[in-house]
Symmetry: C2
Subunit: 261 residues, 2 copies
DNA sequence: CGTTTAATTGAGGAAAGTCAAGTGAAGTGG
DNA sequence: CCACTTCACTTGACTTTCCTCAATTAAACG
């Protein structure tokens, strides 16, 4: 696969969909080769190792970043539950938006990250000269807005299983959109990160995982890889239909639901 | 006050902040008079009465809207809890983004709405010709993205009182940003709408309201107007510090907390 | 191979959800 | 203008779910 190489070679890449287009469902590269080259000229490549903090909430926002490889998380300190994760950031994602010149959240590394760092001043002048670039940013922002709304929708769910199912669904969609195939869902983040993203306790996440496994809805190859093996039930779950209580679980594969009868 | 009149007269208005600017905290008009006039030329004015549905999730997205007056809500059907409200839409807000040519949510009227209706095709050609307009859209989208993230943050809260406090805070900030003053918070939506926005049951919202009133943190002039009378405690709440249990409530104003001693 | 970190499991309690009834306010028609 | 209907909100009793705390097991790392 030469995918990553080609991304690195050509300059910043931003994937998304035209919010007004009638198009394909598949996300596509929003910047032309020329635009990417121009951005590359004003960008530098930076590397962050696992656990590093790329920037902190409230820092002066001097640059925006475009991930080449690796995964990061955008988070905000929460008095309630330690830390709230607003989004996971994958290759070709953009981050570093600010409010009044200050970053609105912290970004921390989940998996070693390589990224383009683009100074805002240079980006701004580039933007004002290139309508296509501006349009690319519009598409990307719409996409992130919808993503944030989906996240809010997830958080409004009351059932742990439904939350987790929807979380998998989101990861899977992003993965497919990145063109990485959907046979298995890759989860670079740990249970704690997941719990902070879905708004439950770490223990509740663990129990929900186990419950899904016991019900044979998902399978885990290892900590970082899940596979959905019962699409139907999974779909019901993420659509909000609550499953029968765990009491019936032993009678699982077609067995008598009333063992006493 | 000639505010509303001036908005109506000049064409579509979009308020927000430059996501990279160092600016003032106050939102400002993002479009020039000229841009507004050009948009007005391609827009028509539409009116919707209370309870109407402006468009439905999944409809072909032929137009975007810009509210002149009134309040609407963007919502999505949720199997879990009837309906999920993603955002309340106020004057100068923009709505009608789509995915693959279809609206991603429904928009319903809360308070009679007057709005500009702008055909997407015309908007697109306008956008490609006007970098300033594109930049305005970028600013607005960033603003909405942050708003959606705040909403997600709210939904991740576990305590009903904290959720409600944060809800008031968001309403208040928007109100101030619109230049309407903050003496009292105006809530055009009913308790049910609030419950669907903050992700709790209607009853829980009602109880939280009562609790805040009993604790003398807020006062309600009527159904639609709240006033925060204990800013300190309110701030603690929305910062996530949980309040003493209601048992101590009678001993409220400096009384002995241990009546038995 | 031991140490550290991450994940799981259990028991008990608190918070919010649900169901059902009651109160109050707004709007309608006589 | 007032009785009446309706809708919105409130309150209570009970149940469910998840959170908290604490202990245990499993996996990564040097």
């Amino acid at each position: 696969m030469t995918k990553v190489v080609s991304i690195v070679g050509r300059g910043p890449a931003v994937r998304g969909v035209d919010p007004w287009g009638i198009s394909t469902g598949r996300m596509k590269q929003l910047l032309s080769d020329e635009e990417r080259a121009r951005l590359a000229a004003i960008a530098s490549i930076v590397r962050f190792k696992k656990g590093a903090e790329i920037y902190h909430e409230g820092d002066r926002a001097n640059a925006v970043f475009n991930i080449i490889s690796g995964v990061a998380k955008a988070c905000k300190a929460s008095p309630d539950n330690g830390e709230h994760i607003m989004a996971f950031l994958f290759p070709e994602d953009l981050f570093g938006l600010s409010e009044e010149g200050k970053y609105v959240n912290s970004v921390k590394v989940v998996t070693p990250v390589t990224a383009y760092q683009i100074p805002v001043s240079a980006l701004r002048s580039q933007l004002s000269m290139d309508a296509g670039l501006e349009f690319g940013v519009i598409c990307k922002l719409s996409h992130e807005l919808r993503q944030a709304q989906r996240h809010a929708f997830l958080l409004a769910r009351r059932q742990a299983l439904a939350k987790l199912a929807m979380f998998f669904e989101m990861l899977e969609q992003l993965q497919v959109a990145r063109g990485e195939g959907a046979a298995e869902i890759y989860m670079p983040m740990n249970r704690s990160d997941i719990s902070e993203y879905v708004g439950m306790s770490l223990e509740a996440v663990s129990r929900a995982f186990r419950s899904l496994i016991k019900r044979r809805i998902i399978e885990t190859r290892n900590r970082w890889h899940v596979k959905i093996i019962d699409r139907d039930t999974f779909a019901k779950l993420s659509a909000g239909i609550s499953l029968p209580s765990p009491a019936n679980l032993r009678a699982q594969s077609g067995g008598n639901q009333f063992p006493g009868s």
